[in-house]
Symmetry: none
Subunit: 223 residues, 2 copies
């Protein structure tokens, strides 16, 4: 998956690039509207992250120009709570927006949602990170070179949740809410679920370490 990041603030551009690379995206950086349009033509990215405030053609114009010929997803970056920008951005064809400052998790959640809505993406009932494949309909998890692992309902929710944020930590509280709904689970139940899932996944070192524990915080899906 190829992402074009259009951001003239180099520091923020670095952070963005870092976040996407960590998620397994290929990243191209543009630092002005002109750059963006040229690179768009040359590279044909699958997704664009576009700051409104960039030099030369501003974000809105860039978005408008591209939308004439493409329907690739575009996510806008705006300063917090600037409603005018948000409305205008969506108006010129952006798929979503995110207000600065934002956390990497917030950003990836938006990317996820946009990719899911767009046709680029795999169907809703599949999930793939690296070579690991989760089938939400069959509730099966496939790791190359192994037989598929069939998951129970709650195990499936757990895997789904950590796969969505692959490479990032997901807090225990978020997981509990995702699996059992707010106020219905607890840490003890989560601990047991992870234990049973790891057991099911087998003793292989590589497989075991897919679910990493981050002490005091939560769990993390590692490629």
């Amino acid at each position: 998956m190829k992402t074009l990041i259009v951001e003239d603030d180099r520091t923020l551009a670095d952070i963005l690039a870092f976040t996407f690379v960590r998620e397994g995206f290929e990243v191209i950086n543009a630092y002005s509207g002109e750059d963006a349009l040229n690179l768009w033509e040359d590279e044909c990215p699958d997704l664009m992250i576009l700051d409104v405030n960039i030099p030369l053609p501003d974000g809105f114009s860039v978005c408008e120009t591209i939308r004439k010929n493409w329907d690739t997803p575009i996510i806008f970056l705006t300063v917090r709570d600037n409603e005018e920008d948000i409305i205008r951005g969506l108006d010129v064809g952006a798929d979503d927006y995110i207000s600065k400052p934002f956390s990497p998790r917030q950003l990836m959640a938006r990317v996820d949602a946009v990719m899911r809505r767009s046709s680029i993406n795999i169907e809703e009932d599949h999930y793939q990170v690296g070579t690991v494949f989760l089938d939400l309909e069959q509730k099966s998890l496939t790791i190359p070179g192994q037989d598929p692992i069939f998951l129970s309902e709650s195990e499936c929710r757990f895997v789904h949740c950590i796969m969505r944020y692959a490479g990032q930590v997901v807090t225990s509280q978020i997981l509990i809410n995702c699996i059992w709904g707010p106020g219905n689970g607890n840490k003890e139940m989560l601990r047991q679920l992870v234990h049973r899932l790891r057991k099911k996944m087998g003793v292989q070192e590589e497989t075991q370490s897919i679910i990493e524990t981050i002490s005091g915080i939560g769990y993390c899906f590692c490629q």
Copy 2:
């Protein structure tokens, strides 16, 4: 959000309280400097509105005393255009001032601005200085080119505190109060926390020197 209002004129104090309550703040009233200092210790407010002209220790002394151990935002109330007061107020560590008389809207605008500048702002779930990135939710510290470092609760509070004042020295006392709360930590614990954190951050020179010791005063976050 808890606000301590220090104002001996009961009428004005009531108006202030009303304004804050209407905005969803919890309000505590103090009518003298002594009151203010006691309530400060007991209630740990998130914000203080402080009239200069209050009995017993005056506003300046109160502010000075509190600033020795806390970095919670303080807004001064002064009579109109008394520049001496304003300068002296900011000098003893106030974050902003507002001249009497003022409109509730003016006041809340100042409060908003001060809260935004300080990290009390609850919505802020991450912090960025240069290329260093702190995720408060994941409790992770990311330096480009390195794996994220996962922090414990107290380590996270420490990093949060020094990152807020990046480039400035933060005194040991302020750090201790930020990390363990009033009367719960000591310099020995702080020293050990820094030691463990540096160890966790690895042997890389660049990474190590992010936390600089300022002998006899405290610590400083360097780019």
